[in-house]
Symmetry: C2
Subunit: 461 residues, 2 copies
Amino acid sequence: MALRLDYSNMIAGHASAGIPETQLREHAARFRDAHAALRQGHDAGTLGFLDLPGNRHLHDQVVRFAEQARGGWRDVVILGIGGSALGPIALRTALRPPLWNVLDVSHRDGHPRLHVLDNVDPLTIGTLLDGLDLRHTLFLVTSKSGGTAETMAQYLVVRQRLEDAAPDDARRHLAFITDPDKGVLRAIARDEGIPAFDIPPNVGGRFSVLSPVGTLPAALIGIDTASLLEGAADLMRRCDTAELARNPAGTFAMLQWLADAYHGLRMQVLMPYSDALRDFAAWFVQLWAESLGKRRPDGISVGPTPIAALGATDQHSQVQLFMEGPVDKTVTFISIGSPARDVEIPALHEDRKELGYLGGHSLGRLLDVERQATAGALARRGRPNMTLHLDRVDAWHVGALIMLLEIATIYAGALYGVDPLDQPGVELGKQFTYAMLGRPDAEGARREWNLLPKPEPQWSV
Amino acid sequence: MALRLDYSNMIAGHASAGIPETQLREHAARFRDAHAALRQGHDAGTLGFLDLPGNRHLHDQVVRFAEQARGGWRDVVILGIGGSALGPIALRTALRPPLWNVLDVSHRDGHPRLHVLDNVDPLTIGTLLDGLDLRHTLFLVTSKSGGTAETMAQYLVVRQRLEDAAPDDARRHLAFITDPDKGVLRAIARDEGIPAFDIPPNVGGRFSVLSPVGTLPAALIGIDTASLLEGAADLMRRCDTAELARNPAGTFAMLQWLADAYHGLRMQVLMPYSDALRDFAAWFVQLWAESLGKRRPDGISVGPTPIAALGATDQHSQVQLFMEGPVDKTVTFISIGSPARDVEIPALHEDRKELGYLGGHSLGRLLDVERQATAGALARRGRPNMTLHLDRVDAWHVGALIMLLEIATIYAGALYGVDPLDQPGVELGKQFTYAMLGRPDAEGARREWNLLPKPEPQWSV
């Protein structure tokens, strides 16, 4: 089996604060309802991410563009934030060698570096743009709506620099990834003949990594996007069952929901033991937090808090809290069967007890042993945890892992009783921003902003 | 004022789930006890981090070594994990230009790149070592005890490579940062004449960033470590008062503790609006989690869960949850008065409403407006938050910020009733690791490990 969820340590028999096995079985019917809701959503056309692995038209466009671009660019820069950035960053870190942007081009097989501007910090943007040779740089501007303030601000800065460098040539250095019809990016693309790739209207930002949002930059740096989509498709087929005990995404979602709803385990850590999946955990944090953290229709605020961690690194940071702090977390480890490469630990200083036992093992073995030790120690202290086992970190497995967690998110939305596809909570902050910057259509927000209490000097130190 | 904590939005009058002003005043005596405990700890010699800003001897050693090394190394690599890695990474990101390791040496003013191996992932380590020119590389091996498995494994791998490359020259490429007397690194340094820098015995890993653990790599890449220590010393002086209303570290600690203990706000987000402080939040996570997340003497598990976030980026990821999820968090923003550099947003596409309002503002202004908008929107929804204002991100301010949070951690330990200096919860996992790798002195752990329940096939999918 290529991807397996072992949840032994989520069960009360293994970890005392865990879920009684009977409780999991009792909720089989509830899961059937969640699975039916996913099917209905798919039939109703709201779950477009499920169609991405089979959308050959969209993928062909991406592959063709990447083939034509081959050898043409030294640097590719994504202008995007949130789902437009987290997915591509996760793919680059997982599926390209470490230090990709530092490696010499010969170690990148002729592919470009990939930079992601996921913020509007002027120092970062200014420094990056100063260092690029704009003649050899392609900018991918990614925004579903075309209205994202941060991305649009970046675009204006970049556009001006391109115009200044080569007035007639600016358009050749741009590609947009946006809604097929709506929004300002689509309009500009049409007016100016800038290449534009579709984010299907029923695919939201945090579910977009298998759309051109993720696949276009991935293909440009040589990632096997076909295999990525195949892994996702395979996992979808495995989850095409209402039987909880056979559905990995269903099991993951149900365990996390039961842990939160019945056992007070409201924080949910994702902790890969693999540097390659370091940024994948951040992608998951957005997916889980933004989909599930919201007000139910009855006004109750719900949602688990996802936390990103990294093994073994966080054993020396967050794990003390996970082991001995309040019993309010689950930990999901990701283990890798075969590392892409292993390194032997040589037998030096064999007379020293702090060093001698290490020689002859490999770093990969050490890493995996530490994962087992941490999982075992957590269980020994009664703290529920589970492990997603991947045979290896390659495009197929990463595609499967992405789809597992996306489908689990939809199930979890049904279990929590919230719409996993919206994000109404961030609207007020956006409106306040528009108000302060003087956007003409933000009058109402300006009035509300002016009524808010302001900082009080006596509460300052 | 150079560093200011505005906690208006932590108070119930501004954010309905916040702390009543009376409650803060009622706890003034409790804070005096916490402050007295810090003084006693300092007098008893357990709080060595408070002596680091004034330890001229230690700092002179670091500066002298860095001066002698000037121009000699192309790459410096830290072998270290936890506090040995998080501090140096935070300093590099905060106080050197973005993309430091990607920039050409001319943009680094002749200083070396700085890599930090904070894990034992074989792909990362193998790729980095293959790419380095070992003749021009210095390795800093950082471990207080000298027994850290991950760091010792890295050291063995590096040592072998150095011996293979130039048998007689290996020692010249090494410097150790460790206990002044104890441990295997100190012993090897003595035997072989390898330069070694002290981590004072009363300075634990997560409080070590202002010791050579942080200052040596910082000095090697040209950071003004004297100014870093001055900022820390200044903040120490500001906190030398038992009067809560005048003590910034005390106010921070008291607000966070009251929020957790009385108001169910058990997750505590640190969210700088500055890419430069992106990795600083990860440093804080270790400090707060490992110091406070533990069992009290009466057996009760306590401790807030710190969460790292980044503005404006996380407005498109975690903020939906912060706004609408359960009311169980505080958010501490960090704002920067003057960005190190600003970038104007040009007035292009002025006819498009999604773009037109941005022109004429700067990216720095946009970032700061978004911070204000997010803080205001959180308060409007009743969610407590506060803001640490720094005039700018420079060595002085970062030193002050470090000391503020370190002192706050000691106060918080007293308020929670735990020892903020130990980390007993990670010992079991270490013992299990030793047991599996066959370290001779791990017999007891091996027996306990063998008794643990193992994965059960029926709990797998």
